[in-house]
């Protein structure tokens, strides 16, 4: 329990992170107090993290995605902030979007089946070989474990990445994830049937159409699509034809997080 009254979120910026402004905007709209902080500043005073209930790793190209996407940032967390991050993960919320998801997977925070932070999966190069940007249709297949997606059945969001193909180390990792209710979003076709790996609905040919997953507690979420880019109905690609919604959009993910924080963490 923290003595802070309002839910508060910290958004970590690495060199090359580029979605922190809109991620902070989404959190503010969901009524979080938000602090954006550069990782170098955080390393000067690691205890800052204790003041927050939600940690967000936004999208972008941390360290240029050189070597592999999210890898160098993941090592920053593992080698410089290990204790702080593990203690945060113990009872608080972490969300990683796009590059943030890649960081969480490469740091072993996701999928973390069996509860240990070992690398069990990866997000690797899309089959088509390069970056791809489009809006995708997603189905929430989670039965209730994930705290961020309650009340969401189906949502359209933009994707923009070159390395979004989810792959597991061994088949049993996926089986366990399914058993633990860790699968969150799956790519769908226009008619809401499963994408079954088909391009462009599942743009990177991700395993089992996986677009987002959570850890066994449901408090850590990673997803390739960008909910922070759909906060107004006017962001929807076909709003001029009457589609899009001012409430049932990306903001719901952040509002659910806020509700959880109020109920459990303050």
């Amino acid at each position: 329990m923290s003595d802070v009254e309002n839910p508060s979120a910290i958004v970590i910026i690495f060199p090359g992170t580029n979605c922190h402004v809109e991620t902070a905007r989404a959190l503010s709209m969901a009524k979080f107090e938000v602090r954006e902080i550069h990782v170098n500043e955080l390393l000067q005073d690691k205890s800052i993290l204790e003041q927050f209930q939600l940690l967000a790793l936004p999208g972008g190209f941390s360290y240029g995605d050189d070597i592999a996407s999210g890898k160098v940032a993941a090592n920053k967390l593992l080698f410089k902030l290990e204790d702080q991050i593990k203690s945060f993960a113990n009872d608080k919320l972490i969300i990683g979007i796009c590059n943030g998801f890649q960081i969480l997977v490469k740091a072993g925070l996701l999928p973390a089946v069996g509860g240990d932070f070992k690398i069990q999966a990866t997000l690797t190069y899309n089959d088509l070989g390069h970056f791809y940007c489009d809006w995708v249709k997603l189905k929430n297949v989670n039965s209730g474990k994930c705290v961020y997606t309650r009340g969401i059945d189906f949502i359209e969001l933009p994707v923009a990445h070159g390395e979004g193909k989810f792959v597991v180390k061994e088949d049993h990792v996926f089986d366990q994830m399914e058993k633990n209710d860790q699968i969150v979003f799956k790519y769908m076709k226009h008619d809401k049937s499963p994408a079954n790996g088909a391009f462009p609905h599942n743009p990177g040919n991700s395993l089992k159409d996986i677009a987002g997953i959570c850890d066994p507690t449901g408090r850590i979420l990673g997803l390739m699509p960008h909910p922070e880019r759909y906060l107004l109905r006017y962001n929807h690609p076909r709003w001029t034809a009457g589609f899009g919604d001012d409430e049932e959009n990306g903001i719901r993910i952040f509002q659910n997080a806020r509700d959880y924080v109020i109920e459990h963490l303050i």
Binding site: G16, F61, G64, K71, V72, H226, P237, R238, A241
Partner: protein, 984 residues
């Protein structure tokens, strides 16, 4: 050395694709091909430490394995090692160096970049080295990469480029005072100075007065500052054009300063005499044009070209092009935040055979892939949405592809209480350079850009970009800006430090200590440091009392800050290296001494051709052919590689429609969360019209840009435009004549529309010498428009919305088939040379009325009517909206009676026309609102997904399924096919 390779026993997609590419040029089959990523590590680490590095950093253990100092495969016949040449930016090696230090390992050796990345390719079944050398030409670029072929070893170059320089070699006098004309030209040529004889003579006269010889660095400074790239001396010159019309009547056009009396003059006249509010804030003097947006913000816009480098190294050339224009926005006023990118390319058709490509030229398909990948790999990491663009194809772009990169930015109107567009350094301010270190990269970039190319043209000026460094200093820069820590910011691009500090100290004078500039490796001469175009640097003037805080902010982001000089107040440029003075130039002579001799040109107006010809016997088939032509077809393959959604403000997307894949007229973003106002971006370009009439080519481009932006919902009274001239050799009187005529059109049309120019750029000498003669590009003027949308919620988009709605064409269709896709497709280009005209008064009346209708909810969709004419635009509205339409040509307003009537109505590209879909209950209200305007209700939207057209006499002349039309339009740059083969 650590090698990372796929765990899988099967070949990976990138291995299969490289194998296929290499096989094309090999006699024997490749049995197998494997690729490893290599990291050569200079520090002497133990095997255990290397194991830790491989294990915890370099390998992705799910899909990869690694080996240390050992080639992981057996039985291969050949090994190929490919990597960046020493001195070329190696982002992966740089990041690996940082990341290894993060692991907290044993400290060992130097702290600079000690990792070099490379790629190792192993082949089975191929051992002919000679054939491989040829085959490799398609997969690596010798300009920036090395490749080594061996049977069993990895061969890497010596990476350390450091050399020592003798003290007496630091500066040389170049004797020119007594040189004759020939010798002067020789000195310029030998030094790659691109200074012409008049300019060399002006410098000679100046030094005669000073009674001394210039030093090398002084001469280099003139070459940079006086280059076409930096000073635009052709457009600033006096010009005289004699026009002879087709009956022999002569007319003389004379200008003392061409650009000032045409393009600048239009803006001045509009600002002084216009009957609407002045939207301009800062025009022509800064790195970008700035206009008003709302009560809190101004917006700015700039488009640059990066043509010569992109021809030689498409990937690096295009990437540094977008990097440079982003820095222009960062240096607009006190520094604006980039909010949108736009990219326009001109290539030769990608399907021409290899035999048609002259020696020294890269095949257009490879150029296209490289350029697209370069813009992608720099633009996406910068976190700026790429929302608008176009591609034009013409075989004359073979040797000189054109790469236009644009960025729009937003800046608070006031920063710390002062107007944000004003910046002035003060005497005593520190001169500071931040960002990347300086190497020999890009030396002579701007003088290279001012020369014609041939197969011998070297490309040392080409560089590889590092977007992350630029992203890092951008983040820091806004913090420093809002705290008021600097007085001036200048992009460090073309011309390097010489241009940035030469500009910053132009009024007051400055002194630079070149030994304080941080270097990538030792041994650069002072003049090399001074003009190097190493990327990702920005220049500032910082009051001494703010320097420590300024430095802290950048260093927290990991960006280097270097104090290298100061503003002096003596109106001189003083260059020092340690205690040694290496150059001293009067600022006045440097900036005002360039001779601008009058340019003479003549123009003979051709006799307008309007011959008769048979109508097309199958207009539906012709329509599909036009939809499938390179210039009209879908560019989705390119658009999808760019992040168009980052920042979360994209309201009207580049691709629109039920499947999100129809062609928008431009884009709209909403940059201020506190306001419903938006910014629209569009462009216009018609290089084919210029072959017949350069005046109307320029006029049409302006109208097209304006039309497009009105279709995006911008207020036609709140639009500003940019010019980008890409031309052939201006010393050719015909090219010069076309340039003068285009400038004249810019003045007349912009003034007529009351749409001001706010910034521009020119790139001349786009010629390529082959053994068969010179290939010169068509006269190409890109007009880019930026406009304000008062309320983004009123924007309708371009695709059909509802059956039962009405279709209306606003504007008149005329017999103007000159330069049209219709004649091009039918190979009848010579039959009609009447290029579309522009009537600014009528067109603007229409645009204002349409905009009013949009704001009153009378428009369900609207689309620009341009390439391919009326029917092509209607097809796009139909297949994007997945609805059909029935069109009655007799209702299309026209001013002609010539045959072939139906064909002209369908395919003429007359300017000033916009297609509008009117909601079914709003027809009467719309007609009333448009009273007195030229318009016709030409059809209805239907649910049966067919496009039906009734000709003038009521017969059905087109009956096509919209899915067939869409398929034709998508086929040439087919998504799956092109997506399957990546650019890099």
């Amino acid at each position: 050395m650590i090698l990372i390779f796929s765990k899988s026993g099967e070949m990976e997609p990138d291995e299969i694709s490289l194998g296929e590419q290499l096989s094309k040029n090999l006699a024997s089959d490749i049995e197998m091909l494997r690729i490893a990523k290599g990291y050569s590590i200079e520090k002497r680490y133990s095997h255990e430490t290397l194991d830790t590095i491989g294990n915890s950093l370099l390998v992705d253990p799910i899909v990869e394995s690694y080996s240390i100092d050992e080639i992981p495969w057996e039985g291969y016949s050949t090994l190929i090692t490919v990597g960046y040449k020493p001195g070329v930016t190696d982002n992966v090696g740089h990041t690996a160096s940082i990341a290894i230090n993060d692991l907290g390992l044993e400290q060992n050796g130097n702290s600079n970049d000690f990792v070099h990345s490379f790629t190792l390719i192993a082949l089975w079944g191929v051992d002919s080295t000679e054939e491989l050398i040829d085959a490799l030409h398609d997969v690596f670029n010798p300009i920036v990469e090395f490749a080594n072929i061996s049977s069993n070893e990895i061969v890497l170059p010596r990476y350390d480029l450091s050399t020592t320089v003798d003290d007496d070699a630091l500066v040389q006098d170049i004797p020119i005072i007594d040189a004759n004309d020939e010798e002067l030209i020789e000195i310029s040529k030998k030094g790659l100075l691109a200074l012409n004889l008049e300019e060399m003579k002006a410098i000679q006269a100046h030094y005669k007065e000073l009674s001394r010889e210039p030093t090398d660095i002084e001469l280099e400074t003139f070459a940079q500052t006086w280059s076409e790239h930096c000073v635009h001396k052709t457009l600033k010159s006096a010009a005289r054009l004699e026009i002879t019309d087709h009956v022999g009547k002569k007319q003389l056009l004379m200008y003392d300063n061409l650009i000032k009396e045409t393009i600048f003059a239009a803006t001045r006249i509009i600002r002084e005499n216009g009957d609407k509010d002045d939207i301009c804030v800062s025009v022509f003097k800064d790195n970008a044009g700035i206009i008003k947006f709302n009560e809190n913000f101004n917006i700015c816009f700039k488009v640059e070209t990066h043509n010569h480098p992109s021809a030689k190294e498409p990937y690096g050339g295009a990437a540094t092009g977008i990097g440079g224009v982003i820095r222009d926005i960062l240096a607009a006023g006190m520094g604006a935040k980039p909010i949108a990118n736009t990219d326009i390319f001109c290539f030769s058709e990608p399907n021409i055979s290899r035999d048609e490509v002259p020696e020294g030229i890269i095949h257009p398909k490879e150029i296209m892939k490289g350029v697209v990948a370069g813009v992608r790999d720099y633009g996406n990491p910068m976190g700026i949405p790429t929302v608008n663009g176009s591609v034009y194809f013409d075989k004359r772009y073979l040797g000189n592809p054109l790469v236009f990169c644009g960025t729009a930015g937003i800046i608070p109107r006031k920063i710390n209480g002062k107007p944000s567009e004003n910046k002035e350094p003060n005497v005593g301010d520190y001169l500071v350079v931040i960002g990347g270190k300086t190497g020999r990269d890009g030396i002579h970039g701007v003088t290279f850009a001012s020369l014609e190319m041939d197969k011998h043209t070297s490309s040392n000026p080409v560089q590889i970009g590092d977007p992350i460094t630029e992203r890092m200093f951008m983040e820091a820069m806004f913090k420093a800006r809002d705290k008021g820590l600097y007085t001036f910011v200048q992009d460090c691009g073309g011309g390097g430090l010489s241009s940035a500090f030469g500009e910053m100290g132009a009024e007051l004078g400055c002194e630079i200590h070149l030994e304080k500039v941080p270097l990538k490796y030792q041994g650069l001469l002072p003049w090399e440091i001074w003009i190097s175009e190493s990327q990702e640097r920005q220049a500032f003037s910082v009051p001494p009392e703010h320097f420590e805080e300024f430095k802290e902010i950048f260093e927290l982001e990991g960006v280097g800050v270097y104090h290298v000089g100061m503003i002096t107040g003596n109106k001189k440029l003083v260059l020092k290296y340690g205690d040694l003075k290496v150059g001293e130039i009067e600022m006045d002579f440097l900036h005002n001494g360039v001779p601008l001799p009058e340019k003479e040109a003549t123009w003979r107006q051709g006799v307008p051709v309007m011959e008769g010809f048979e109508p097309s016997d199958a207009p539906g088939e012709l329509l599909k052919e036009i939809l499938a032509s390179w210039n009209v077809c879908s560019k989705e393959w390119i658009v999808r590689q760019y992040d168009s959604e980052v920042q979360g403000n994209t309201i009207l997307k580049p691709l629109q429609g039920c499947k999100n894949d129809g062609p928008g007229d431009g884009s709209v973003i909403k940059p201020d969360p506190a306001s419903w106002a938006g910014i629209a971006l569009s462009n216009g370009m018609n290089p084919f019209y210029g072959d017949f009439d350069p005046y109307l080519m320029a006029a049409s481009s302006i109208d097209e840009a304006l039309r497009n932006i009105v279709c995006c919902g911008a207020d036609p009274n709140h639009v500003a435009i940019l010019d980008n001239f890409c031309w052939g050799n201006p010393r050719d009187p015909e090219h010069m004549a076309k340039l003068i005529l285009a400038c004249k059109a810019c003045k007349d049309i912009a003034t007529g529309f009351e749409t001001p120019f706010i910034s521009g750029k020119d790139s001349l000498n786009n010629e390529y010498k082959t053994d068969d003669g010179v290939i010169s590009i068509p006269a190409t003027l890109l007009i880019s428009a930026i406009g304000k949308v008062e309320d983004i919620r009123n924007v309708p988009s371009m695709f059909l919305k509802s059956p039962g709605n009405f279709l209306c064409i606003v504007g008149e269709t005329r017999d103007e088939l000159g330069g049209s896709h219709y004649l091009k497709t039918r190979n009848l280009e010579e039959k009609n040379t009447m290029v579309p005209t522009v009537d600014t008064h009528t067109f603007m009346n229409h645009y204002r009325a349409i905009h009013e209708c949009m704001n009153n909810g009378l428009i369900a969709s609207m689309h620009d009517c341009s390439e391919g004419g009326l029917i092509t635009s209607i097809s796009e509205m139909c297949f994007s909206g997945e609805l059909g339409a029935t069109i009655h040509l007799k209702n299309v307003p026209r001013d002609f009676t010539e045959d072939p009537l139906n064909d002209i109505l369908l395919f003429s590209e007359s300017n000033g026309r916009i297609l509008v879909e009117i909601p079914k209950g709003k027809k009467d209200e719309f007609i009333k609102a448009m009273e007195g305007k030229i318009m016709g209700i030409i059809g209805e939207v239907t649910s049966d997904t067919r496009l039906l057209v009734e000709g003038i006499d009521g017969n059905c002349i087109i009956n096509e399924s919209i899915s067939d039309l869409k398929r034709a339009w998508q086929a040439p740059l087919d998504l799956e096919h092109y997506l399957g083969t990546s650019g890099e």
